[in-house]
Symmetry: C2
């Protein structure tokens, strides 16, 4: 993998660059589409490409459980398996092990950091805290957890995560980390962070020992994952510790509240090696795209655009709309006037609202296309203006309009 910076946003940590992988390049900053189980839900790879995505991110935990990383390897790696002609990322599995795994059967949804899940954060965090360490047992070597599918027991270690990711064969992989809950006390956060740093070192060593991907025969990049919750001293310690290791890039993990994303990202990115790309894990609110980009984030991913889309929620420049609202049934305009996405070019709000009410599968497809196009285009626009000028004027205009109706 090669990373080059072509431009910087004056007075900020922001930069414009390019990541080159064995499966193609990513112009950064960029929003990466999430393809959890080797499919961006409800979309074909051609749709994902056409709506503007440059790369996809799949989940190690999910693919390990179903269909199994060996089967993905036999299919030539995750990109070939899912017929995606472009760069891919896989996360480390740590996040899901600690949220889905630990919360199995408790009706607790993923304590995600995207805007959709954020709404449930209070409840989920409380529940998460109660379960933390109950169904996912952590020791120095790794973590034993139960599958959210059938409750069976599995074990991940840093080495195992690397082996699985080598079988999955994504271009960019992540070191195995412990994702803590934001309500965990600082003592526990510190303890978990130290362990995450030891796991990072083991991940890196095992990644180097494994060599090229057994699925693709290509060299994979490995990102270390910075943790530390909302604590400046922990975030900075993490950035310094991992920054001193020979990672190809860095993930920034954990939960943030809306207010501290820019701040926490700035603490970290001020210290991470400048010449390596940074990925902000699982963050997808429009405002976060601005705060992330101007604070030195190069790539983002989040399930929010597709998850929200499948539930009838769509982004517009004037904020979010719910297509189940009765007024849309007779609305002959597109979801958003002037939007260049496939959905807006070809369908009325009336039609998409009908599909949602009729529980037709195409509803989720059309709304997901619009939402992914919206957020990807937004980051594309940010990239363009960070490079050519006009970024701050655009930010001001966009945010005051988008959040005006809230």
């Amino acid at each position: 993998m090669k990373f080059s910076i072509t431009k910087r946003l004056k007075g900020t940590l922001g930069r414009v660059g390019r990541i080159e992988t064995p499966h193609g390049a990513i112009e950064t900053p960029a929003f990466i589409a999430v393809g959890t189980k080797a499919t961006v839900k409800a979309l074909t790879p051609e749709m994902v490409r056409e709506l503007g995505a440059q790369a996809t991110l799949e989940n190690t935990y999910h693919l390990y459980l179903q269909p199994g990383d060996e089967i993905v390897r036999e299919n030539g790696g995750v990109a070939k398996f899912m017929h995606w002609d472009g760069p891919t990322f896989t996360d480390s599995g740590g996040f899901q092990v600690f949220s889905l795994g630990a919360a199995f059967g408790k009706g607790v949804s993923k304590v995600a950091t995207g805007d959709v899940a954020r709404e449930e954060d209070g409840r989920a965090h409380k529940k998460q805290k109660e379960d933390h360490g109950a169904l996912a047992k952590i020791d120095e070597e790794g973590v034993t957890f139960k599958s959210h599918i059938d409750g069976k027991t599995h074990r991940f270690t840093p080495e195992r995560s690397m082996e699985i990711q080598h079988n999955l064969g994504a271009d960019i992989t992540f070191a195995f980390d412990e994702c803590t809950s934001p309500v965990d006390p600082i003592e526990y956060q510190k303890e978990a962070l130290d362990r995450t740093h030891r796991w990072a070192k083991r991940s890196l060593e095992h990644h180097q020992a494994l060599g090229i991907s057994s699925a693709t025969g290509k060299q994979q990049a490995l990102y270390g994952v910075v943790q530390g919750g909302k604590y400046r001293e922990l975030r900075e310690e993490s950035a310094k510790t991992l920054g001193a290791m020979d990672f190809d890039g860095y993930g920034i993990g954990g939960s943030f509240t809306k207010e501290d994303i820019g701040t926490a990202v700035a603490w970290v990115n001020a210290l991470l090696p400048e010449d390596r790309p940074r990925h902000l894990l699982g963050i997808g609110e429009p405002i976060d795209m601005f705060l992330g980009c101007e604070n030195g984030v190069d790539t983002f991913d989040c399930v929010a655009p597709t998850r929200m889309g499948r539930n009838g929620g769509v982004y517009t420049k004037d904020g979010r709309l719910n297509l189940f609202n009765a007024k849309f049934i007779r609305d002959l305009g597109p979801i958003e006037d002037g939007c260049a996405c496939y959905t807006c070019k070809n369908y009325t709000r009336s039609y998409v609202a009908h599909l949602f009410r009729s529980e037709e599968m195409l509803a989720g497809t059309l709304a997901s296309i619009h939402n992914l196009h919206f957020i990807i285009s937004l980051v594309d626009k940010i990239r363009e203006l960070m490079s050519e000028g006009g970024y701050f004027e655009f930010k001001e205009a966009f945010l005051s309009r988008y959040y005006a109706t809230k």
Copy 2:
């Protein structure tokens, strides 16, 4: 609408032709994709076009209830509403009124004539018979029925069906008919058939009085629907009676058992005016395509390919496969070797099987594409060989292979 016959299959009732509609032409014989609620389930119109469909058929009953025919009219008619750039059909609503409507809340599925529903025929027919006339009250004027969505009472008459279909604006529409159950006694079949004939006349008169579609401003074609169950005398009487009326074409409705499709279709088509197209309603088994085509059917429709596809069933030249079968998880071949569909060109059985087990929406999309392509290509091949020679050899080879493993 214009219909022309370009070739006949010697020694049979079969013919090759072309239907020209205001929204494009259909080379016949042809299989028409079903887009029940103004969407071919799980597919975009571009996919439907790419897999080879020339036209789609939507359901009057469903669109009347949701979103309502007025809303479809405001959207410019059903083709524009669903972004389908080609000819469309709407059925009369009669079939669903008597099956879905009458069976509301009774756990009875549509007594469909396609191969999937056929398997449940015994049970469904029995139940259907018990309910027949209970929740759908038939009188000389029309039928009062309950919505399968909310149980509310609605009323269809031949005039109402025409008004709804004029609002929907399809190129080809059907006269309102009573679809009887195959287990109804002949006395009832006769009574229902006479009423269907009176309704056909009223449909035709009202269609002519309404003029062009209020949705599209285009002239719509109206097909009369031949009924009569399994009884030769009734089928022939129906063909003669309706054949003498000024319909643009004819639908052949009702249920058939696998054995009598060719025979019953032949009774009817020997008597129907030769210069008008015939549509066999709701029939979709591969063998039925041969029996229909060589007995003078010009177009077919059926939900079987997409419904079966969404449930993991796929057609191959060697018969049907169930993708939930454990052996497919590691199968790196396509669903069918040599198949030219999008799914087979780009995905392994292993991947599609993974999607089904993971309950991913793309599973239904990929299997529906393959199945619709399979059945549409089959009818395309029949058309080609009926025209250029080699039909009977192909039929023999196809059927002996397809049904060999059964």
